[in-house]
């Protein structure tokens, strides 16, 4: 599948979530576990500390369906989630990673 078709497909079926969290052990389980236990598939995960390291940012590539708004509300209730923003699937963050994911 070439990149253009993939992007087109992503634009229809996927979304990118940008989640600012307190950086401590366990916060990834809180966020990712929320999705998995509601059988909401997460296609891609990126996470790195931000600034002085007290916070991290988690980027999630998710399938977009009618439950996404509810998932974002539930994620927003997590104590360690500071902010959550939604982007379209063509957001740059996952774009340049394909070279690392060749079979």
């Amino acid at each position: 599948m070439n990149a253009i078709t993939k992007n087109e497909q992503n634009a229809i079926t996927r979304a990118v979530l940008e989640i600012d969290v307190n950086n401590h052990a366990g916060v990834m389980s809180h966020v990712v576990g929320l999705f998995s236990r509601r059988s909401y598939n997460v296609e891609g995960i990126l996470c790195l500390p931000v600034g002085d390291g007290r916070q991290s940012r988690i980027w999630l590539l998710v399938n977009e369906d009618q439950r996404l708004a509810q998932m974002m509300k539930q994620a927003g209730k997590l104590e360690d989630v500071i902010a959550i923003r939604r982007h379209n699937a063509d957001h740059a963050v996952f774009q340049d990673l394909e070279t690392f994911f060749r079979p």
């Binding site: 052990a25 366990g26 389980s29 809180h30 576990g33 236990r37 708004a69 509810q70 509300k73 539930q74 927003g76 209730k77 997590l78 104590e79």
Partner: protein
């Protein structure tokens, strides 16, 4: 003044400063430093449960009866895993709980050490929040924060896992943090309140739908005032029973799977549903698409994630209910709404709850009403889970918030006895009645000895049909009467069991005057088990079959 204290001493001191006076738990290796410190406390009374789940439900009983966060303690490994059911139950019913567990020393975490289990990981999906504490200093922040989280917004359980070396670590303390209290709740947007008032004023057939959030918010008086001012027939969820007295002229009782016919029929006709602190649970709505099919929906809840989760609201307001109703009340016009109230009364008369046999104290409804006749509204009514729970929900005259303690969301058999003990510990002056079944009581029967030890004023009314009644009912109705694993081939002698555990027991079966025997047992202080056999063929009716619309009730 600077003191040198261990993590364990700090934990106990912070609990004292938090105002905690009773905790329930069971010690074990990894929490022994905290127990050592707890033993030195002159302010905190420790109740020794006989199973950690019992300790968890005792804390729940305290929290449900008082509305304040309550504390349970367990050791690592099996102690922690045994607590989990009680924590999950608190999550689903939004009960403020702080569970403290011991953990193996930090250096041993991840080594499959003796009694090591990933308590933090296990508790993520069933807590509002959880902590794994990594130093004694951290306790100063974590403990108050745990209480704050448990009590703020939509309440819920918080777990604090404390490794043993953190409990023994000594640090210098010069200043104590403020106790954790509920944060101010979000207030309702006045413009939205105006819209809500306009919708209520314009509605012809509105119904007020109260949920457990009304209890948590202390908003039952405001809800009743709203109902009275605008003449709103009012339904309650299982969790909200007691918020409007069941004999209030506007009360339609409980809605949903085991509602009276008139309740579900009237909901079918309403043009406006005002959901307050309710979450459109499947047992309340039945088939969602067919729930209040003609109604516009107003939804007020403190948890924004509940808005539009099951039903899309025409107006959704994320706010504290007391505050929102306080704003709403002056904006709503007085309205006698005669046609609609008449219609409600007509359906009530036409399709009442069938309580045939209620005049016989040996029938299920008769027993419940005979117990009620021995008590006033000051009593606390706890239940276990099953047929008895639904019958009590249908037939007991509940008249005040926090009178009613029941496991709603998780539906946990074994809840009743320890929750009743907890309620009795928290509210010593009240009589606490626990309705239970022979299936449920066996799931935490070990706590009878705790009841004896604490000499709590609980009356356990055991409705014994020698079956798992709701399973028996569903197999009879929906599985071609193929009864399997729902009838006990052997039943214990519950009178001897109670006496063996050290509490009084009476058997209504052998009593020539069951009402007099009941009255005597209930008015005698201290714990007592009251055994009554009931007919296993009795069903909880009406019943909405699972997955069906509420209007399609079967039975009675």
């Amino acid at each position: 003044m600077t003191e040198t204290l261990t993590g364990a001493q700090i934990t106990v001191r912070l609990l004292e400063r938090q105002g905690i006076r009773t905790v329930a738990g069971i010690p074990g290796g990894a929490i022994l430093p905290i127990y050592d410190a707890l033993g030195q406390s002159t302010e905190i009374h420790h109740v020794l449960a006989r199973h950690e789940q019992g300790a968890g439900f005792m804390a729940q009983g305290m929290a449900r009866a008082t509305g304040m966060p309550a504390v349970c303690l367990a050791s690592s490994g099996p102690g922690a895993t045994n607590l989990l059911t009680a924590i999950a139950d608190a999550k689903l019913d939004s009960i403020p709980l702080v569970a403290i567990t011991g953990q193996v020393p930090k250096a041993m975490i991840g080594t499959d050490a003796f009694q090591e289990v990933d308590t933090y990981g296990l508790s993520i999906p069933i807590t509002k929040h959880n902590f794994l504490v990594s130093s004694a200093e951290e306790l100063l922040e974590v403990l108050p924060r745990a209480f704050q989280i448990a009590a703020s917004g939509r309440p819920g359980p918080v777990l604090i896992d404390i490794p043993k070396d953190v409990q023994t670590q000594a640090i210098e303390i010069s200043q104590w943090p403020e106790p954790g209290r509920a944060l101010p709740a979000p207030t309702a947007n006045p413009e939205q309140i105006e819209q809500v008032a306009a919708m209520i004023n314009a509605a012809e057939r509105p119904i007020l739908y109260l949920g457990g959030g009304v209890v948590h918010s202390g908003a039952s008086t405001a809800a009743i005032e709203l109902a009275e001012k605008a003449s709103l027939p009012t339904v309650m969820t299982l969790m909200a029973l007691g918020t409007m007295p069941v004999d209030h002229p506007l009360s339609l009782g409980m809605l949903g799977m085991h509602a009276a016919r008139y309740t579900n029929f009237l909901l079918d006709e309403c043009d406006l549903l005002i959901a307050v602190g309710a979450r459109f649970d499947d047992r309340a709505t039945g088939k969602v698409a067919a729930f209040c099919p003609q109604a516009k929906i107003i939804h007020i809840d403190i948890d924004p994630a509940e808005l539009d989760k099951i039903k899309t609201a025409h107006i959704g307001i994320a706010a504290d209910i007391s505050e929102a109703l306080g704003q709403l009340l002056p904006a709503v016009l007085e309205n006698v709404r005669k046609i609609w109230v008449d219609r409600s009364n007509q359906l009530k008369a036409e399709f009442p709850l069938d309580m045939t046999g209620a005049d016989n104290p040996r029938s299920h409804f008769g027993l419940i009403q005979s117990v009620a006749a021995c008590l006033d509204d000051e009593a606390i009514i706890a239940t276990d889970v099953g047929q008895h729970q639904m019958w009590v929900a249908q037939a007991y005259p509940l008249r005040r918030p926090r009178q009613w303690l029941t496991s709603g969301g998780l539906g946990t058999m074994g809840f009743g006895v320890p929750a009743a003990i907890g309620a009795a510990l928290a509210e010593r002056e009240r009589t606490v009645v626990c309705f239970t079944g022979d299936g449920s009581i066996m799931m935490n029967i070990q706590e009878l000895v705790t009841a004896a030890e604490e000499n709590v004023n609980i009356k356990i009314v055991l409705m014994d049909n020698a079956t798992l009644g709701l399973v028996h009912q569903q197999q009879t109705l929906f599985y071609g009467e193929r009864l399997f694993a729902s009838q006990f081939r052997s039943s214990p002698d519950f009178i001897k069991i109670a006496q063996g555990f050290g509490i009084a027991a009476v058997d209504l079966d052998s009593s020539t005057n069951p009402c007099a025997t009941l009255m005597e047992a209930i008015s005698r202080p201290g714990p007592c088990l009251i055994h009554a056999s009931i007919d296993a063929e009795q069903k909880v009716y009406p019943m909405v079959p699972p997955g069906a619309a509420n209007r399609d009730m079967i039975g009675a």
